[in-house]
């Protein structure tokens, strides 16, 4: 066991082995009914240097598949999606002053929100680290 490092001709991407992933390049850590969410190393490298983060209000309701956060890099703008229905219970306000925490430490200090999930958490739509590694490889090869 250990983190996976995906090497492609474009770059190297770290995938943590203790997290689950989405098809839209978010990572989630599930602890009881609370889910911590951020974007992956692959996502931050594709976005490049992040200069602005638009966070949701604490206690706002979110729907599975809906955009909850907007990340803005010098190059482009990207949405972050919630994989679950739930309520935002915490937002990482440190990102307002230091949006590049997401670049520096995507799986740690660069976490984005915590969501209290309504109902039971279904992992069916999520990807395992290995499945996520395969997804990246496929995407990079198709370029």
């Amino acid at each position: 066991m250990g983190d996976i490092i995906v090497k492609t001709k474009v770059g190297e991407y770290i995938i943590k082995d203790d997290l689950l992933y989405t098809k839209t390049d978010e990572w989630v850590r599930i602890e009881g009914d609370i889910v911590t969410l951020g974007i992956t190393d692959y996502a931050q490298k594709k976005l490049r240097y992040i200069v602005n983060v638009e966070l949701p209000e604490k206690n706002s309701e979110v729907k599975a598949g809906s955009s909850i956060v907007t990340l803005e890099s010098v190059k482009t703008v990207a949405d972050v999606y919630s994989p679950f229905n739930g309520k935002i219970v915490e937002v990482n306000t440190a990102l307002l002053d230091e949006p590049d925490l997401i670049n520096k430490d995507p799986y740690g200090k660069g976490w984005i929100v915590k969501i209290k999930v309504h109902g039971t958490i279904s992992k069916e739509a999520l990807l395992t680290p290995q499945q996520y590694a395969d997804k990246i490889k496929k995407e990079e090869e198709e370029k």
Partner: protein, 371 residues
Amino acid sequence: MPKEVPLIDLQRKLGGNIGEFAGWITSMDYGNPLDEHLAVRNSAGVFDVSHMGRYIIKGKKVFEFLQRVVSKDLSKVNEGFMSGPVLLLNDNGGIKDDIMLYHVNENTWLAVVNAPNVEKDREWMIKLRERFGYSKEDVDIEDVTTKSVLIAVQGPKSLDIMDELGLSFVKDLKILQFVKDPEILGGKAFLVSRSGWTGEEVRSHGFEIWADVELGAKIFEKVVKLGAKPAGLIARDSLRLEMGYLLIGVDMNESINPIEARYWLPLSLDKEGCVGCDKVREFFSKGVEKFRIGLRLKKGIRVIPRHGSKIVIGDKTIGYVTSGAYSPYLKRSIAMGYVKSQYFYLGFRVGIEIRGKVYEARIVDFPFIET
């Protein structure tokens, strides 16, 4: 297919994040474009700007040819000096490109042109050569872009760095003055000039070195060792925006004229006989329908106005943004764009619509920073 700039391996070694600009693969940043921006303002940064197009223009008639091709009177550009930005205009007075000319000697000038236009500008010049009836002996235009590198050392500490490179004579250069064939690190560069495109050159804190690839690599690496931060095109873009410098294809193009762009620096309005100049005088006397303006968002606002973002008063659109960036120096986002000329409200607050939300911004003049 995009081409790699000659120093790409060195850029990678120094931590460059590679991307594409105008057909060139080069470094967008070296990890933190905001730090790179601040290094240029507060200390020193070094850019590989080898993607810029470079021509040698020579022949018996080169001066009279260039006088007819560009918007600025070149008779005041002495030997050993650069022209400052000059415009290539189309026949309708629209802006094809802004370029820099170097007066080497009576029969030789150099040109640095914008990367997206390296082929188009040369084709245009050749077309004009035919129109004016000059021969290839009268005026020859050789594209030497890929044979050399261009390195920009910018910032308050650049003079010390040049000194340590053995170029102490540069302290006596005036802004836009250059020296041919300087000896650097045991080799001979093509030229060194007191110039740049960051705003530091205005403060006499900017130098550019033009050299062959091998020597250029040595110089770049040495300049980094001497304390300059390697900087990429993202920092270069936010630095030029702070100064209000226009980027071709983004802030100006062939359907925009220099009066609308308020791009007075490269113009000699009374100059006769140059392509597009009569049209520009006509625009000047008749008046124009839009003006370029600066937009300053509130302190702490980091949302970036994008090319095409609407400038609004209430629900009325009065113009559009052409480029925007977050300025780490001013700690706020800034932008430039055009408004209809009846809304040329310097000092007033208007709105910028970004992804459906309106952000307050003050219309200001350029530059955004004090120089």
